[in-house]
Amino acid sequence: MRQELPMILAFIVGILMIVSFFFTSETLGEAARTVENWGVIVAAFALGLASINLIQIHAKKITRGKGLDWLYSGALLFSMIGMAVLGIAKGPTHPTYQFWFDALFVPGQATVYAMTGFFIASAAYRAFRIRNLDSAILLVSAAILMLANVPVGEKIWSQFPAMGEWLMNVPNLAGQRGMLIGAGIGGIASGIRVLLGIERTYLGGSGS
């Protein structure tokens, strides 16, 4: 019952979403709208889950961690609680809140993402090898596109932008479309498996 009831719930709301789209019925439409609204509220509750996990992990690190762990974990919890209290009390557009958002969160995450620029350069040097026809096609198309995408490419050879555009809009389009349709069909198949309860890993159990 602990697995079956949630599965039945997923099935009912999933089918409701599909059926209400294809059949014009005021009752079905209203039911689907209500369930959508409920979904938004439940999803909002889910936003707090990560914080509880972080509190559990970092409270442990503060008491039992090694070296400077207490400082890092303390800073994490302090900044989390500080932002939460400030945001809930004053609102997220309060100047102080926006200040810390812009001064810490934005540069912090933007730089973490930017760092991958260094890593991709290192990977390009160490791992991007022409070993067979496949990797040769991959490398040549990547090289053409990289030159086509920047003004210097046109300075080197005036045809690079046109080549890049063709590459993007013809063979790449075909490849992406094949993958898109394939992923769509695969997604629908796995969605049906979820709704029918064949795939139930999301419940924390194994599939049948």
Binding site: I41, I52, L76, F105, T111, I120, L145
Partner: protein
């Protein structure tokens, strides 16, 4: 050159350099900045979650007397039973609801947008090499993915063509990824040189 006197810019610059310093070596400043920004991020999620619960759930419940909203509020609270071993199974109900809605919406949208419209746009007149590449390339990729029996005869040629086409797509993906990552680095360096140090405009 005019170095910034703005406190926010200085904090952002220290955060940027702190994270960038990881490229050289793992160090305490990097760890500190990383933890602080993860904390700020989690705190922000809490604030936005609360605003949604307030505006979508509690507000209409109290102001308009919409008692049906007790259902999603109760379901949302059940998500937190996962932290209590004995009753953690109750968190499956809200999860099942989210998965059910998401799956239903995705299925209904995918059929039209990702399959029907994409197939319709592939049905092109066979009057140019480009159109032929689009049609047979798309077919080739699909055959490469979906035909699990051995690829022999004409099937082999189409699927090999599909494989080559996919390699072009992966090449395009790599080229685009390089472009994006460099743009991200440019953004951060521009911030340091222009907003913080003031050595460029």
């Amino acid at each position: 050159m005019q170095i910034s006197t703005d406190l926010g810019v200085w904090i952002a610059a220290i955060a940027t350099i702190g994270i960038l310093s990881f490229a050289f070596k793992d160090n305490p400043l990097y760890r500190l900045v990383e933890n602080v920004y993860v904390g700020v991020s989690a705190g922000h999620a809490l604030v936005l979650g609360w605003i949604n619960i307030r505006d979508q759930g509690i507000g209409p419940l109290i102001d308009d007397g919409d008692w049906s909203l007790l259902v999603p509020i109760a379901l949302g609270m059940l998500l937190y039973t996962r932290f209590f071993k004995k009753i953690s199974w109750l968190s499956r109900f809200p999860l099942a609801m989210l998965v059910g809605i998401g799956t239903g919406l995705a299925i209904r949208g995918t059929i039209g947008s990702q399959i029907v419209n994409q197939i319709k746009s592939t049905i092109l007149p066979l009057n140019s090499i480009n159109n032929a590449i689009i049609i047979f390339g798309t077919l080739g990729v699909l055959i490469y993915f979906f035909f699990s029996r051995e690829h022999t005869g004409p099937l082999k040629h189409v699927s090999t063509f599909g494989r080559c086409i996919m390699m072009v797509s992966f090449g395009a993906a790599f080229g685009s990824t390089v472009m994006g990552r460099m743009a991200l680095l440019i953004n951060r360096l521009h911030f340091l040189y222009a907003n913080w140090l003031g050595i460029i405009r």
